[in-house]
C-alpha cells in the first residue's frame, strides 16, 4: 500500500460520513411529507401517481394491511418480470435477437430482482434484451429498494407510536421513496456516470475490425440509467456478465468512486433518518457507528491479506480477476462494501481474491446483511439485533429490557430470533443438501475448499439477498435456479414477515417514561454490546462452515499448496 491507497480510502469514508446526515435529514422530511426545496418539483409527480392509480394518500394501514399491500405489489412485480423474460422474443428492443429464457432461469431472475438480491444465473449481454433490462429488471431495482424503505418505516413508526395501530400507507411510502429519493439520485448518478463513459444507447452490437484485422463484436445498451439505480438501490445486478468490472459499466477511477459511494449512501443515510424520525438523532449515530466499526474491521483484514504477496499471487500484488485502472485497493474497498451493503455488484472477481479477502466478503453476508445492508432491509435487520442485544443486556443486569421506551417482551424476542435465524437456517441447510446432491456438485468449478466456498457462498448470497458470487459455479441449471430462487424468497420474506409482526406488537405498546433504571442505548457501551452480539451470533452459527472453506484455503495458501 502506498499514500494514494490511504488517501483513496479516507476520501470515500469522508464523503460518505459527510453526506449521510445531510441525506438522512432530507429523507426524513421527504418520506414524512414535509416541505423541502426539492418537494416543489417532486410533489406534483407524487400527486399524479396517486390520482392515476386511485390511491387515497391519507388512508392509514395497520401492520397486516400494510403487509398485504407489500406482498401484493411484489407479486405483481414478480409475475411481470417472469412473463417478460419467458416471452422476451415477442417484445421490442431486442436488436441482438436474443431468445426467450428457460422457465427456471426466468423464475430465478424474477425472484432475484423482486427480492433486491440480483443474483444472476445468466450473462447479461448474451441473455437479456434491452427491453428486459430496461423495463423488467430496472423497474424491480427501484421497487425492491422502495419496498425495503417501506418496511423499515413501519418498524420506525412502531417505536414512535404510543398505543396505536396506524403504521402508515405502503403506497405513499413506495411512491415517496421512488419520487423523492431513488429517482432523483439515480438521475444525477446516471448523468455523472455517462460523462465517464458508461454507455447509454439502444443500439445493437457493433462490429469492428481490430488493428490486427480480427472481427470483434461489442455489445451496447442502456447501461448508465441502470447502473445508477443498481448501485444506489443496493441491487447489484449488472448489465454485463462481469458487472462493474466491465469497462462499459465502470470505465474510470472516478466512475468507480461514484459507484462505490452509491453502494453505501442510502443505507448509511437511513440509519440517521431513523434517529431524526424519532427525534433522537443520537440513536441513529449509535447504529451508524456500530455498522461502521464492523465494516472497517473487515476492510482492514481484507487489505492486510491482499497486500501480503506470496508465491501463489503471481505478482507482487494479486491482480487475477482485477482491473488495472482500479488496482487492489479499489477492488477490496468494493468487495467489502458490496457484501456489507447487500448490493452484490462486483468490480473484481470474488472467486480470485486471496482466501481471507474472499472469506470476509462471505462473512459480511453471513452477518445477515446488516452492516449498512440493503436499502431499508439493512436497518430493519439491524434493529432485530438491537432487540436481541437489549434483551441480553436486560438479562445480565436483571431488568425488564426496553428500547426507545418500549418494553421488549417474549413475542418480540421470538420475532427477532426468527428474523435473524431464518436466513441462516436456509444457508446451512441448502449448502448441506447440495453437498450430497451430485447434480449440484457437478456445477462446481473448483475442487477442495474453494469448491465448498462456491456453493456455500451461493446460498449465503441468495438467502442474504446479496447477489454476488464465487462465479466459477455454473448456477444456470434447473435444480440450482429453483433452489436459489426459493432461498432468495425465504431470505427476503422470512425476515419481512417477523419484522412486520414485531412492528405490529411494538406499536400497540405504551411508551414508558425514562427512569434511572432505564438501560441506555445511546452510548458506546451499547455499541460495544451490539457488535459483540453480532459477532458472536455470526461466528457461532457459521464458524464450522467457514473453517471448511476460506479458513482451510488460507492455510493452504500460506503453505503455497494448490489443488
Amino acid at each position: 500500500m502506498n499514500g494514494f491507497d490511504v488517501i483513496q480510502i479516507l476520501f470515500v469514508f469522508f464523503v460518505l460520513i459527510l453526506l449521510s446526515p445531510i441525506l438522512g435529514a432530507f429523507f426524513n422530511k421527504s418520506l414524512n411529507g414535509k416541505a423541502t426545496l426539492f418537494s416543489s418539483i417532486a410533489r406534483p409527480f407524487e400527486k399524479l401517481v396517486y390520482r392515476a392509480s386511485g390511491i387515497d394518500e391519507n388512508e392509514e394501514m395497520n401492520w397486516k394491511q400494510y403487509l398485504k399491500a407489500v406482498l401484493s405489489f411484489n407479486g405483481v412485480g414478480f409475475l411481470f418480470v417472469f412473463f417478460v423474460l419467458l416471452f422476451q422474443k415477442s417484445f421490442p428492443l431486442n436488436p441482438a435477437g436474443l431468445p426467450n429464457l428457460s422457465w427456471h432461469l426466468a423464475f430465478n431472475t424474477a425472484v432475484s430482482f423482486m427480492t433486491n438480491t440480483n443474483w444472476q444465473s445468466y450473462a447479461g449481454e448474451s441473455t437479456m434484451s434491452h427491453f428486459s433490462q430496461m423495463v423488467a429488471l430496472a423497474g424491480q431495482n427501484f421497487f425492491s429498494a422502495a419496498t425495503g424503505i417501506g418496511v423499515l418505516l413501519v418498524l420506525i413508526r412502531a417505536f414512535k407510536n404510543n398505543q396505536s395501530q396506524k403504521l402508515g400507507n405502503f403506497w405513499v411510502d413506495l411512491n415517496r421513496s421512488v419520487v423523492y429519493i431513488l429517482l432523483p439520485l439515480s438521475l444525477v448518478w446516471a448523468i455523472l456516470l455517462s460523462s465517464q463513459g458508461v454507455l447509454q444507447n439502444l443500439s445493437g452490437p457493433v462490429t469492428v475490425k481490430t488493428l490486427e484485422g480480427k472481427e470483434q463484436i461489442i455489445s451496447q445498451g442502456p447501461v448508465a440509467s441502470q447502473m445508477a439505480i443498481k448501485q444506489l438501490g443496493t441491487n447489484g445486478g449488472g448489465f454485463f456478465n462481469t458487472n462493474s468490472a466491465h469497462p462499459y459499466e465502470n470505465p474510470t477511477p472516478l466512475s468507480n468512486f461514484l459507484e462505490l459511494l452509491a453502494l453505501l449512501l442510502i443505507p448509511a443515510a437511513l440509519t440517521l433518518t431513523f434517529g431524526y424520525m424519532l427525534n433522537k438523532p443520537k440513536e441513529g449515530w449509535i447504529l451508524f457507528s456500530a455498522m461502521m466499526i464492523i465494516l472497517v474491521l473487515g476492510l482492514s483484514a481484507s487489505l492486510w491479506s491482499e497486500y501480503h504477496a506470496n508465491s501463489l499471487t503471481a505478482n507482487l500484488i494479486p491482480m487475477e480477476g482485477k482491473e488495472v485502472r482500479f488496482g487492489v485497493t479499489n477492488s477490496i474497498l468494493w468487495s467489502t462494501f458490496t457484501t456489507a451493503a447487500s448490493n452484490g455488484s462486483v468490480n473484481a472477481m470474488h472467486s480470485s481474491l486471496t482466501p481471507i479477502a474472499g472469506g470476509i466478503a462471505l462473512l459480511n453476508i453471513l452477518f445477515g446483511e446488516i452492516i449498512f445492508g440493503g436499502v431499508g432491509s439493512g436497518l430493519y435487520g439491524m434493529l432485530l439485533y438491537v432487540v436481541l442485544t437489549v434483551f441480553i443486556a436486560g438479562l445480565m443486569v436483571g431488568r425488564t429490557p426496553e428500547y426507545l421506551g418500549k418494553k421488549i417482551e417474549a413475542f418480540d424476542i421470538k420475532m427477532a430470533i426468527i428474523g435473524i435465524l431464518t436466513p441462516s437456517f436456509v444457508i446451512l441447510f441448502a449448502t448441506t443438501y447440495s453437498l450430497v446432491t451430485p447434480s449440484i456438485m457437478s456445477s462446481l468449478m473448483h475442487k477442495g475448499p474453494h469448491g465448498f466456498s462456491e456453493i456455500f457462498y451461493a446460498f449465503s448470497s441468495a438467502a442474504g439477498n446479496n447477489g454476488s458470487a464465487f462465479a466459477g459455479l455454473n448456477a444456470n441449471t434447473p435444480i440450482l435456479n429453483s433452489l436459489l430462487g426459493v432461498a432468495m424468497a425465504i431470505g427476503r420474506f422470512g425476515v419481512i414477515l417477523p419484522v412486520m409482526a414485531l412492528a405490529g406488537n411494538i406499536s400497540k405498546k405504551k411508551i414508558m417514561p425514562e427512569s434511572v433504571g432505564t438501560f441506555k442505548t445511546d452510548n458506546f457501551l451499547f455499541v460495544f454490546l451490539l457488535i459483540a452480539v453480532i459477532l458472536i451470533v455470526g461466528a457461532l452459527t457459521f464458524f464450522p462452515a467457514l473453517s471448511l472453506g476460506p479458513i482451510i484455503e488460507q492455510i493452504m495458501f500460506i503453505q503455497g499448496k494448490t489443488f
Partner: protein
C-alpha cells in the same frame, strides 16, 4: 380486489416513470452532453472502426504492445473473468506459462472483465525492446511513446497509473507512418 387493482395501477404508473421516462431522459441528456461516451467511445483509424477505447482487443504480433490475457478470449459480447482461485493448480500453470514467455507484472494475470483495456506502465516498458526491434524503431522513440501514453491517476489521486493498450498501439502506428 381493491388491493390488487391498486397494486396493478401503481405498478403501471411507476413503471412508465422509472422504466420509460427516466432512461429516455438519461439517453437524451447524455446524447447531447456526452455523445462520444454514450455511444461506447468507438475509435476510427483510416476511416474504419477499429475498436472501442474502453474495450480490450487481442494483440499477438510482435509489432504491437500486448495487453493483459483475457479469460473471455477478448469477446466483447461475452465478458468473463477466469474465476480461478489463487490455489488452483491450473491457474498456477497458466501463470508459469506466461512467465516462461517473458511476461511479467499484470500481464501474468487475466482481468475481471476479460476486457481490461489497460496495462500498468511497467508492463508497457517491459515490451519496448520487442516492439522497437519488430518496427525497426529506436528504443528511445518507443519508450517516449509509452511515457506520453501513461494516464495519470484521475483528479490526481483516484485509481492507478495505466496505459491504454489500443491508444498506445495507434500512437505507434502513427509514429511509423510519419
Amino acid at each position: 380486489m381493491k388491493l390488487i387493482r391498486q397494486s396493478l395501477m401503481i405498478f403501471v404508473v411507476l413503471t412508465v416513470m422509472v422504466c420509460g421516462v427516466y432512461p429516455m431522459a438519461v439517453m437524451g441528456i447524455s446524447k447531447i452532453l456526452f455523445p462520444y461516451q454514450a455511444q461506447g467511445e468507438m475509435i476510427s483509424y483510416k476511416g474504419n472502426l477499429v475498436g472501442s477505447e474502453l474495450i480490450a482487443q487481442e494483440f499477438t504480433s510482435d509489432k504491437y504492445f500486448w495487453g493483459r490475457p483475457s479469460a473471455a478470449g477478448y469477446n466483447a459480447s461475452a465478458s468473463s473473468g477466469s474465476n480461478y482461485s489463487l490455489t488452483n493448480t491450473d491457474f498456477q500453470k497458466a501463470v508459469k506459462e506466461r512467465k516462461d514467455k517473458g511476461l511479467d507484472f499484470d500481464l501474468l494475470t487475466t482481468s475481471g472483465s476479460g476486457l481490461d483495456p489497460h496495462m500498468s506502465p511497467q508492463a508497457a516498458f517491459l515490451q519496448v525492446k520487442r516492439v522497437a526491434m519488430a518496427r525497426g524503431l529506436s528504443e528511445e522513440v518507443v519508450t517516449s511513446l509509452v511515457t506520453k501514453n501513461i494516464e495519470q491517476r484521475q483528479l490526481g489521486f483516484l485509481g492507478e497509473e495505466r496505459v491504454n493498450v489500443l491508444k498506445l498501439n495507434l500512437a505507434l502506428e502513427n509514429a511509423v507512418h510519419e
